[in-house]
């Protein structure tokens, strides 16, 4: 007996408003793109409206996982790209706690710079 093949998967994207980005909301199986739109409507938009809905055949998507050299990995060895060295936060906290004047803070920072404190 020949078993029927599964219908293709379509990824569903919804644009909630005219100026918002289309966001992935899920996927459906359907026999055609038009059918996929109908199925998406029932599966994801029964209680809410959308400005537009996109369906994209899963097969049309190129995945970075298949090309490891371009897959973005956590930049462990790229600390130079991470923001750091901005240690004003504790000073701000103290400024607020002690009700210092901004001149006092500036003086303190200048002293720190000159190695006075």
């Amino acid at each position: 007996m020949e078993f029927p093949r599964d219908t293709p998967v379509y990824e569903v994207f919804a644009q909630r408003e005219a100026l918002s980005f289309p966001t992935h909301v899920g996927s459906v199986r359907a026999s055609s793109p038009e059918m996929a739109l109908q199925m998406a409507r029932e599966a994801y938009f029964r209680r809410e409206a959308a400005y537009d809905v996109w369906v994209v055949p899963e097969s049309a998507i190129t995945r970075a996982r298949e090309y490891p050299e371009v897959l973005p990995v956590a930049p462990e060895e790229k600390t130079y790209r991470l923001p750091g060295g901005y240690d004003n936060a504790p000073l701000w906290k103290r400024f607020k706690a002690e009700a210092q004047t901004i001149e006092q803070v500036a003086e303190e920072m200048a002293a720190k710079k000159e190695g006075r404190s």
Partner: protein, 257 residues
């Protein structure tokens, strides 16, 4: 027409009861496909469409209630088999998936024609109900056209199921076009489009066009309707359906659901 005369109210009932009952029955039978549709996506779609139909039936029962008929709950849960005026096709027992697709497609085409004809009757509550129904039905028709098309081009086996289903449903179609009441009901509105012969012709025109597009053989002219169209007085089949439909409510008939 703000307040219809007794005669007008009787005529309106003759026209609206069949539509309300059709919508209810097709929704009820559709709900039986829950968990049985070919895939999860269609299961959701079909359940949602069936809920829409039951909602439309409720709207129409409310219109009838305004004309002096029983409430929606009473119409559905307490009315005897002799009071129902749905077409045989809408309440037929569940068969194959292809049969259901053909049944629903034919019903949507027909129902669109009927709604369009009824919209010309200047009774505000009816016009409002029909407008609300129109919005949802446009999508229903598209959906069932897509499903027929899917079967038509799904390979030889699928096409064979579809053709068998068309042969099976064809003889069940004619009583859709009847009102099941006296002709005076629709004649009195002077809306020629309400005549069964006009609705049949409009139906044939749409379906012929679709069938040609899907390269389906036209099964021949629709047979003539039975004189007892939409009357189910002695139908054991309907009694069984009503019993099943009311089963849960009958567990505690006096409690408020």
């Amino acid at each position: 027409m703000m307040q219809p005369t007794t005669q007008q109210a009787a005529a309106l009932k003759t026209l609206v009861i069949p539509m309300a009952d059709d919508e209810w029955m097709i929704g009820h039978r559709g709900s039986e496909w829950l968990a049985l549709a070919p895939d999860l996506e269609e299961d959701l779609a079909m359940s949602s469409i069936s809920q829409d139909e039951m909602g439309h039936a409720e709207l129409l029962y409310e219109v009838l209630h305004g004309l002096g008929e029983a409430s929606a709950d009473e119409a559905v849960y307490l009315r005897g088999p002799q009071g129902w005026r749905h077409a045989a096709l809408t309440a037929a027992a569940r068969g194959s998936w292809a049969e259901w697709v053909v049944r629903r497609y034919c019903y949507e085409v027909f129902d669109g024609i009927r709604r369009k004809a009824l919209q010309r009757i200047p009774y505000a509550p009816l016009v409002a109900a029909l407008q609300k129904m129109d919005r949802e039905h446009a999508y229903h028709l598209t959906h069932f056209q897509s499903l027929v098309q899917t079967l038509a081009y799904g390979g030889p086996a699928s096409r064979q199921y579809l053709e068998e289903a068309i042969r099976e449903d064809w003889p069940k179609l004619p009583d859709l076009f009847e009102w099941g009441g006296r002709d005076e009901a629709w004649v009195s509105w002077d809306v020629a489009a309400l005549a069964p012969s006009m609705m049949r012709a409009a139906f044939e025109q749409v379906v012929r066009q679709d069938f040609a597009a899907w390269q389906l053989t036209w099964p021949g002219n629709l047979p003539a309707a039975d004189r007892a169209a939409r009357h189910h007085d002695n139908s054991e089949f309907l009694a069984a359906l009503l019993l099943e439909m009311r089963e849960v409510r009958q567990v505690a008939p006096t409690s408020g659901w």
